[in-house]
Amino acid sequence: MDALTVDRIQFAFTIIFHYLFPQLTMGLALLIVILKSIALRTNNDLYNQAAHFWARIFAINFAMGVVTGIPMEFQFGTNWAAFSKATGGVIGQTLAMEGVFSFFLESSFLGLFLFGERRLGPRLHWMAAFLVFLGSWLSGFFIIATNAWMQHPVGYRITATGAIELESFWSLLSNPWLRWQYPHNMSASVITASVVMAATGAFYLLTDQHRAHARIFVRTGVIAGAIASCLMMYPLGDAQGRNVAIYQPTTLSAMEGLFHTQKGAPLSILGQPDMQTQTLDNPVVVPDVLSFLTYRRWHASVKGLDAYPHDQWPDNVPLLYYAYHNMVGLGTFFIAILVFCLWNLWRGVLFESRLLLWALMLLAPFPYIATIFGWMTAELGRQPWLVYGLIRTAQGASPQVSAGNVMFTLIGFAGMYAVLSALFLFLIYFEVSRGPHADVQGPAAPARTAAGR
């Protein structure tokens, strides 16, 4: 394997592992603020206890996010030095802003949120929770702004010496790609947190523990999850797809498995891209729908991969196609289950339906899988470019770091993260077993929450 391949595998592996944690914490921060707000408004202490339980889960995930996040910032320099050298003047801005504007905010107020409930009183404690939420969503914004620039570079110019200079700060932050990618991503995070919360509640109801808290978990999770998953389809997913069609047309053809340009292009539901024959094997398609979704006209012509030079095609079309189809398939599935649960919640029978509670409980891992596939769609779809149309992936790697050295650190990360996973799962199991009852002595019992975070 050449160094470039190992560099790519290492980045993919470490970023996928890292993002499992912020994916939950960003959404969960919002749900915790909602629980705290209800507690403040209604004086119902059950909601405070529910928030307290989720704060403990949040703290563990946050810690995992921090320790696995530092390697991401470092790897821009260690493994992608040529890319960093060229683009630091632009994406260094958003990455540095994340540190300055959100990490200081998050780390300062998370300590107060976790340790200071008694000292701060209910209003200030709500404020601390809100600031943690704000910090984590800002952090997501700056990271997506960075990624959006790589997907669709704007606001830059190339200087006489070949460096990339940021020309307009405003363009960087109002990138049309960012406008839809950010809410699309945050909505996925809210779905994740909602489903995890509902699944935990369903587990407690099925095992007949903590029933009062469990109802709050299921109710909050199902309502928030149903709203977020519907928004995800329209307008967010639709708009994101149209951005791809406008700014990365090659990617659109590849992820839809459309090899040949055609009028009234079909939307493929199932099928396997065959790169030799450039066809879709065993296709199950809906005629004309892709044309409609892309151009809002049933018979519009959609360009296939054959319309573009081969060296501009994403380098792994089948994987991109499967990633995209799995994401969309799972997203549709979430809408079906969550909306059906919402209807049963409204009818007042959800808490007694063992079948639906089982379904909610088993749903927990799927938002993670859908999000991994979603990000694979974004990143594989951008290939062969590192910065779309500007820098090819092959030009971005560190010129002097050998494949052997990267292999060494890749194996090191794999071992380290295997240990982290085992410890993490154990801690989550431990906290879920303790349940929301363990610290129910009113709002003033911050004993034994997460360490130092």
Partner: protein, 346 residues
């Protein structure tokens, strides 16, 4: 403009060294000074709510370095590939050992986490020191603007250097000792009773090796990197930085007694900041000297991002840092005073 960013990154790293320095130091010494479980917990409580905020300074400094000096960021991070990865793994180990120790109250596991925490803290201090040593000595940057260093070659300074040679090891040890001393003074300031007394004793004892190694690095440095002497001969006002460090060092000895409040610790901060400023001043205008040819070295000017990028950065950096300082002030104020041995709730 590039000069401003040089000072900004330097200042952020100096703040990182003084803040994360005390929690690294507390990690290094806690097995020595804390004898009982309650004392161990008191040491951990003294850094608990702030240590990850302290690490944010490293992350933020890294981000600003990326933005303002992309060439330096790219060359140094890829050149120091292996030690940086080791630093990452040590940061991970250190973070999780603190986290797990405090989530799971188990007499079986706690000693393991304590040892990992102490070992990772000590190794991090050593690696940071070795990194400073490499910057002082220079690295084999060539015409391409890149280099790659193995962890070690033959431990000599010559054509084929590694990350670790006798000079960088000396700087690594000096850093380890300075961090341990800094941590001892912090824990002494934040605790009382036997724990404080033991920290004071350790700090009094540890002061002599710190002095010795400071003198050693100060005398070896100019031999390894002659630019340091040229720089200070050209700008004699620069003597003010080593003077601050020396003042801090003497103050650490003078004020290290019970009931002196934070004076000894503040002197230790002065010492670390003085050393950081001396190094930054000494290698200026270089940010990463080349050991092959001075002309290949990266300077503040040839490593900086294009001017308009730097100007835009200024617009958000200044208000951003003012805000951040505000949060940190709130976080530290919420946590002022000594921690008790018997306090629960951490």
């Amino acid at each position: 403009m590039a000069l401003f960013w040089f000072c900004a990154v330097g200042a952020m790293l100096a703040v990182y060294a003084t803040l994360d320095g005390f929690d690294l130091g507390a990690g290094i010494i806690h097995l020595l000074v804390a004898r009982t479980e309650a004392e161990r917990r008191a040491v951990l409580r003294s850094i608990g709510p702030v240590w990850d905020g302290n690490e944010v300074w490293l992350i933020a400094a890294g981000g600003v370095l990326f933005m303002a000096f992309p060439t330096l960021y790219a060359a140094s991070f890829s050149g120091f590939y292996l030690p940086l990865m080791a630093v990452l793994w040590l940061l991970i180990l250190r973070g999780i050992s603190l986290e797990f120790r405090n989530h799971i109250d188990s007499p079986v596991w706690a000693p393991l986490w304590d040892v990992i925490f102490a070992g990772a803290s000590a190794a991090l201090a050593g690696f940071y020191g070795a990194a400073i040593g490499n910057i002082l000595r220079g690295v084999p940057l060539d015409r391409s603007g890149y280099f790659f260093l193995p962890l070690w070659t033959n431990f000599r300074i010559g054509k084929q250097v590694g990350i670790l040679d006798w000079f960088t090891i000396v700087v690594g040890l000096a850093t380890f000792l300075a961090m341990a001393e800094h941590g001892a003074l912090w824990v002494a300031m934040k605790t009382g009773g036997n724990l404080e007394a033991r920290c004071r004793r350790l700090a009094a004892l540890g002061w002599w090796p710190v002095l010795l190694f400071t003198a050693l690095v100060a005398s070896l440095g100019p031999l390894v990197q002659p630019h340091l002497l040229e720089q200070i001969a050209r700008h004699p006002w620069g003597y003010v930085f080593p003077a601050i460090a020396l003042g801090g060092l003497l103050g650490m000895k003078h004020f290290n007694a019970p009931a002196t409040g934070r004076r000894a610790f503040v002197c230790s901060c002065m010492y670390l900041a003085g050393i950081a400023a001396s190094i930054a001043f000494g290698i200026f205008p270089y940010v990463l000297p080349s050991s092959l040819d001075p002309g290949f070295g990266l300077t503040v000017y040839n490593a900086a991002a294009p001017p308009h990028s730097l100007a835009i950065g200024l617009a958000w950096f200044v208000p951003g840092m003012i805000l951040a300082t505000g949060y940190i002030f709130i976080a530290y104020r919420g946590f002022a005073g000594k921690v008790g041995i018997e306090d629960e709730g951490y």
